[in-house]
């Protein structure tokens, strides 16, 4: 290619978020639009080798120790829902981001952004949930901050937690480690959290027996690591769902992933709600599930270890890593045909009919 042509390509590089445009809800979906925000605005400004790995946590060497470090903000509506509340999410979410790096979670920070007028009772309930969740996971909240914004400038309560954990020598889990032949394991049913939240939203309420799956996954990960060291990478498929996590792994490792539709566990209630609303459960959020890519020989022992843990009881081998179609996730349907599982652009939109 002549140099002029290169220059032309560079000048015409599509910038998704042009000047004058503004943030849309879809930028927070965990799909393509969230990725564009990262690639076009955040990464160019803040680039460094640790950040560029784009895993759920950063792992840095500090005085010979390997420290895992992560942060997450929680903006869920409603604040309380079947199975948990914003407080349990804020602890489990950050603990899980550490656990996906193979870290033992140790300490959390807690930052609260409170809207003027928030009932103190609501705050007490959330803080109690945080206390219980932290005690259950064995992490301590060791620092924090509170800010209050005017009524109308927040949505009751926003929570941010950061977490620090310790990674043992020899553990290297990263989204770029998947290799052809590896197996893809899923720890349980998908879509429980997203469908629970949707069923509680104003204007969209429907009756449902589903509860959020919010759970800490670090002891599950510890059990898996005891069963085999040949785990390539772990992800917790939160917003954007299973599809987004697998697409990220496929892209970062430059491999293809083939899923078996019939092997992916889904609760009947979740499947039913998705059918009714025109949603694909592969894109619906989870808060207590992990997807693992492991060496072929390690798949069985790791699966058995997962199934012995309460949050992994429904674990399944759901697919295989392949070199056949790099950076693409495909799914073998119940009819035996195959289709692509793309990263979604923004949020899934309920269909008209």
């Amino acid at each position: 290619m002549p140099p002029e042509a290169k220059l032309d390509v560079a000048l015409n590089c599509p910038i998704q978020i042009a000047a004058g445009e503004s943030i849309l809800l879809g930028h927070g979906s965990g799909g393509q639009m969230s990725g564009d925000l990262l690639r076009n605005i955040l990464l160019p400004a803040l680039q460094n080798p640790v950040l560029d790995r784009l895993d759920d946590q950063a792992i840095v060497d500090v005085g010979g120790a390997r420290i895992a470090f992560t942060t997450d903000s929680f903006v869920v509506k409603p604040l309380f829902f079947p199975g948990g509340d914003i407080g349990t999410l804020a602890v489990n979410g950050t603990v899980n981001d550490l656990a996906m790096g193979g870290a033992v979670p140790l300490f959390l920070s807690l930052a609260l952004i409170l809207e003027e007028g928030l009932p103190l009772d609501t705050l007490r309930r959330v803080v109690e949930s945080i206390r219980v969740a932290a005690a259950l996971t064995g992490v301590a909240v060791v620092t924090g901050d509170t800010k209050v914004v005017e009524k109308g400038s927040g949505d009751g309560l926003f929570v941010n937690t950061s977490g620090i954990g310790l990674v043992s020598p020899g553990i290297r889990l990263s989204a770029d480690q998947a290799r052809p032949g590896d197996r893809v394991l899923l720890s349980g049913t998908i879509g429980d959290h997203g469908i629970t939240i949707l069923s509680q939203r104003e204007g969209l309420e429907f009756e449902s027996a589903v509860a959020s799956d919010t759970a800490a996954l670090h002891t599950l990960v510890a059990g898996m690591l005891r069963a085999s060291s040949e785990i390539r990478c772990l992800r917790d498929p939160t917003r954007g769902g299973l599809s987004s996590s697998l697409n990220e792994i496929a892209a970062r490792s430059r491999v293809g992933i083939e899923l078996e539709e019939s092997a992916i566990p889904i609760r009947e209630e979740v499947q039913g709600a998705c059918e009714l609303l025109g949603l694909d459960p592969l894109y619906v959020a989870n808060e207590g599930k992990l997807v693992a890519v492991v060496a072929p020989s390690a798949a069985e022992p790791i699966l058995q270890a997962m199934r012995q843990h309460p949050v992994g009881a429904n674990a399944q081998i759901i697919g295989t890593v392949t070199d056949f179609h790099p950076e693409m996730v495909t799914l073998r349907t119940s009819l035996g045909t195959s289709r692509i599982v793309r990263m979604l652009s923004g949020d899934q939109l309920p269909r008209i009919c």
């Binding site: 998704q16 503004s22 204007g203 119940s334 045909t337 309920p350 008209i352 009919c353």
Partner: protein, 369 residues
């Protein structure tokens, strides 16, 4: 899952496909009318299973896709009004109007909300008497009865702050327009199962009289569609042209009389412009003059809004089954779900988005074609 897995059974599907291969002695071009059917065909890769020569083209039955550009522009104009709350089904929000879409209007401070049912919009209007609440009523005969009931209820309650931007469309006039086109290639139709659940299929018998093209009313699960295709091919091979009902668990010849009564009470047939196709006479439903006080078009003075469709978008040909989405030079490059040129790339039921979302490996590995 009970009542679903039975309709997604691989063994039965292979059996129907084998029977299809036995019966088809020549190529046939069939069209599925509904966007929901297109979605299932793509999601399950059903066209991969069909014997060579059985070609499916994708019809105009995606309500999001055929809603005219000016109707979208009207909704955008209304949503930008400081006193208005525009309430819509979710998938209308990303449909591009002439200059922007409802998501951007919302980001700029417009009050835009998503519901699953027009009764939620009524509830919101009752609870917020200071807001001018507008329900964005699009869709085929399927969604129209519930919307009719919402207006009827509002009138009965004397609700003054509720209105409707109604842009309903009807299936039979669209089929008639397709069959009248000199470029028509379609030899048989999979009829719209949910529309016929409401309306029955008597109206489709007139189409058979006039055009002699078989119609099989079909459902939305993979086996529904395969069975409907088999029934169509059987008719074509035997030289018959009749209305047959594959979707018997939902559809009767007379349809749902209560829903039809609600429609007739609130709406009247009108001419309607379809995105990508143009004006089709007597192909829409508009509020009757007895319900004019609930017509958002009048309340917000948007009756005069007009719009031109982007020249590059070939959705006209796609929605008429003349071209497949990958035939478009903009497909997957200048036109993606992130940046759609036309409506069929927006909704998950739109033919272009369905191809883009699920296009099988064979298509994808060759790039965008």
């Amino acid at each position: 899952m009970k009542y679903l897995d039975e309709y997604r059974n691989q063994k039965i599907a292979r059996g129907i496909v084998a029977e299809l291969a036995r019966r088809a002695t020549q190529p046939w071009v069939l069209m599925e009318i509904c966007g929901g059917q297109t979605h299932t065909l793509m999601r399950y890769g059903i066209d991969e299973l069909l014997p060579a020569g059985i070609e499916l083209v994708h019809g105009p039955g995606c309500p999001v896709c055929v809603t005219s550009l000016e109707t979208i522009d009207k909704a955008i104009q209304i949503a930008s009004h400081p006193e208005a709350t525009l309430i819509s089904y979710g998938d209308m929000l990303r449909v591009p109007g002439s200059r922007t879409d409802l998501f951007h209007v919302k980001a700029q401070g417009g009050d835009v909300r998503v519901v699953y049912s027009p009764t939620e919009a009524l509830k919101f209007a009752r609870a917020n008497p200071n807001r001018k609440v507008v329900f964005f009523a699009v869709g085929f005969e399927t969604t129209a009865p519930a919307n009719a009931m919402a207006v009827w209820q509002a009138k009965r309650e004397g609700l003054k702050n509720f209105s409707m931007l109604a842009s309903h469309v009807l299936v039979p006039p669209a089929i008639r327009a397709l069959l009248n086109s000199p470029r028509n290639r379609v030899q048989g139709f999979i009829g719209p199962g949910h529309v016929c659940t409401v309306m029955g299929y008597r109206e489709y018998e007139d189409l058979i009289c006039d055009f002699g093209v078989p119609i099989v009313v079909g459902g939305f699960e993979p086996l529904d569609l395969l069975e409907a295709i088999l029934m169509l091919v059987t008719q074509l091979e035997e030289g018959r042209a009749e209305v047959e009902n594959q979707y018997v668990r939902s559809v009767t010849r007379g349809g749902n009389p209560h829903a039809q009564k609600a429609l007739a009470e609130v709406f009247e047939v009108c001419d309607r412009k379809w995105r990508g196709i143009g004006a089709i006479p007597e192909s829409g439903l508009a509020l009757r003059k007895e319900y004019a006080e609930f017509d958002a078009d009048r309340i917000f003075g948007t009756e005069g809004v007009t719009a031109e469709e982007p020249a590059e978008c070939i959705s006209a040909e796609v929605l008429q089954g003349l071209k497949k989405p990958p035939d478009c030079s903009a497909f997957g490059t200048r036109c993606t779900p992130e940046n759609p040129l036309g409506a069929p790339m927006v909704s998950s039921e739109g033919a272009c988005a369905a191809y883009y979302q699920y296009r099988r490996y064979a298509t994808a590995s060759k790039g965008n074609h």
